[in-house]
């Protein structure tokens, strides 16, 4: 992740104290151009604070550069970075068109772009309505319209999929992937891990204010999760005996056995050579969710417990 492309976000040694609490602890990472980078962490991990530090909204330690320059060094910073940190960040009686016109004025963006942005996010029909009554999904769309208004080279979005309907989520995923494909850096936090695994190329994971991982999703899953092979067979006891002789670990699961440290090809050959009939043979790869839970196991600020008091 040390790519030094022309469009990239580079955060170095970000830190933030709230009195005695260290909310963000010396975090450094890069967000590459041409890619969607997911930002993951449990509740209270410091994701929003980190994003605010990157934008200079919170005062803290460290620096962030966007394409080589600090945000304050741009004449119109909003043309460089589009943000969505909160869905309902608008005045409830100011129409979406007026809200965007203000953002366009601040960013030196042509007014014609306002209707374009509203059209892109599907809010053209409600451009003159009061947004106070908007659903969370519509508010998110207005926020996204604000973020993309100036066609910035970097996007910072905090939980943009919250409140979107399934169609909206698919639209957002495709939109952000296309936006990144145009050479831009997209940095997006989300709790929807399945969605993130579909959307993001790279991922940054933090917990309790510390950086846990910064890599591609593929590498993250491959490097941190235990993959296994599931087998269902009428000759399980015979297969178990063979596995023991090969020193392969296994455990019973779902009417079959789950074998660690082997792939389907290897197990398939072993069973075939021993004449064991196979009813089902499948790879069980860990999901991003499995990896995330494993990585952040000890980094959760707020842990829920079941009724017996267990995690």
């Amino acid at each position: 992740m040390s790519h030094n492309g022309p469009n990239m976000i580079k955060s170095s040694h970000l830190s933030k104290h709230y009195r005695k609490t260290l909310a963000v602890n010396d975090i450094s990472f890069d967000v590459e151009n041409n890619k969607v980078t997911g930002f993951l962490g449990p509740n209270g991990a410091g994701k929003s604070t980190t994003m605010r530090l990157m934008l200079g909204l919170d005062n803290g330690g460290g620096t962030t550069t966007f394409n080589g320059k600090k945000l304050q060094e741009y004449a119109h910073p909003s043309t460089e970075v589009g943000i969505l940190l909160e869905a309902k960040a608008f005045h409830p009686t100011r129409t979406p068109r007026n809200h965007l016109k203000i953002l366009a004025t601040e960013g030196g963006v042509p007014m014609s772009r306002v209707d374009e942005a509203l059209d892109i996010v599907g809010l053209k029909d409600v451009a003159k309505k009061k947004p106070g009554d908007f659903s969370l999904g519509m508010s998110q769309r207005l926020g996204i319209a604000g973020a993309i208004l100036s066609k910035p080279k970097c996007l910072l979005l905090d939980e943009p999929a919250n409140g979107l309907d399934p169609e909206g989520i698919v639209w957002l995923r495709n939109f952000l992937k296309n936006y990144a494909d145009e050479g831009n850096a997209v940095f997006v936090s989300s709790h929807l891990l399945s969605e993130m695994s579909l959307m993001a190329d790279n991922v940054i994971v933090i917990g309790k204010g510390k950086l846990i991982a910064s890599t591609s999703i593929k590498k993250l899953i491959a490097g941190n999760a235990k993959s296994s092979v599931f087998v269902r067979s009428t000759g399980l006891s015979k297969l178990e005996g063979i596995l023991k002789t090969k020193s392969l670990a296994f455990e019973k699961a779902d009417g079959g056995i789950e074998i660690s440290g082997a792939d389907t090809d290897e197990i398939g050959r072993l069973a075939f050579s021993a004449g064991i009939p196979i009813l089902e043979l499948a790879n069980r790869n860990a999901s991003l969710e499995d990896v995330f839970l494993e990585l952040t196991e000890n980094s959760e600020e707020f842990q829920a417990h079941d009724q017996k008091g267990k995690k």
């Binding site: 910073p77 960040a89 601040e106």
Partner: protein, 248 residues
């Protein structure tokens, strides 16, 4: 800086509260100037050559509170609805943001004060005329009245803006704006007695000739200087905090 100024101007005139406040002030000025001071004018006031001038200063002393409220809302809406994060990330300098608000509200306050300061005697004269009464020849010291009224309107508006910048919470700022001039300074006057005129809002009232509960008075110019001192101190504190505090 121009883009910030234009943006603040748009923020001011794209929320309904600004229009509601202007409408309320228009109704109040019409009611008091046309009906109370005009239609129902006291006979002694009809003989007073300074009736219209008093009407102007009286109207300005009331409408300025509303101008201050507009300024307060311009700032606190940003924090209440979190649009401050867009404002701050759109500008390369927080100072530009604060001073854009000050410049726009200065313009608003001056126009607001001038318009309602002019409408007040007009409505009063119309009320008297409609009731077929006649005023004695009126004397208005234009230069004196205009600068004092403009200063008062601007000063009150800046006070509202700076209170909002310091407090940030909308309800807290409104309570501060309405409590400090009357209740807090009223209580302090029991302690300070003659020196009450050196309190911020008391000195501002002196500029426009509003009595405070003391026998000691300052000239309008001295009172204006005292108030400017407070305003500068508040501006410095608000500016430093605006630069140093987290966005919201």
């Amino acid at each position: 800086m121009m883009s910030q100024l234009k943006s603040e101007f748009k923020k001011l005139f794209t929320v309904k509260s600004t229009y509601y406040i202007i409408a309320i002030v228009l109704l109040l000025v019409f009611f008091f100037a046309f009906y109370i001071s005009g239609w129902r004018i006291e006979p002694k006031d009809m003989m007073n050559p300074l009736t219209l001038q008093s009407g102007i200063t009286g109207a300005v002393s009331v409408v300025s509170i509303f101008s201050a409220l507009v300024a307060l809302l311009l700032v606190t809406h940003e924090y209440r609805y979190n649009t401050i994060m867009y404002t701050l990330t759109s500008s390369n300098s927080r100072s530009k943001v604060l001073f854009s608000k000050i410049i726009i509200m200065t313009g608003f306050a001056l126009v607001f004060t001038l318009v309602f300061g002019a409408l007040s005697p007009l409505f009063t004269a119309l009320g008297i005329h409609a009731h077929h009464l006649h005023l004695v020849h009126q004397t208005i010291q234009y230069n004196n009245v205009i600068w004092r009224c403009l200063f008062y309107g601007w000063g009150y508006t800046m006070a509202g803006l700076l209170i909002a910048s310091l407090v940030r919470n909308q309800v807290g700022a409104i309570i501060t704006l309405f409590i400090v001039p009357g209740t807090v300074e009223g209580l302090l006057s029991l302690l300070l007695k003659k020196n009450t005129v050196y309190l911020p809002f008391s000195s501002l009232h002196q500029v426009i000739g509003q009595d405070v509960s003391t026998t000691s008075t300052l000239s309008a110019t001295h009172a204006a200087l005292v108030f400017i001192g407070y305003l500068l101190a508040a501006l410095i504190v608000a500016w430093v905090l605006f630069l140093r505090r987290d966005a919201n």
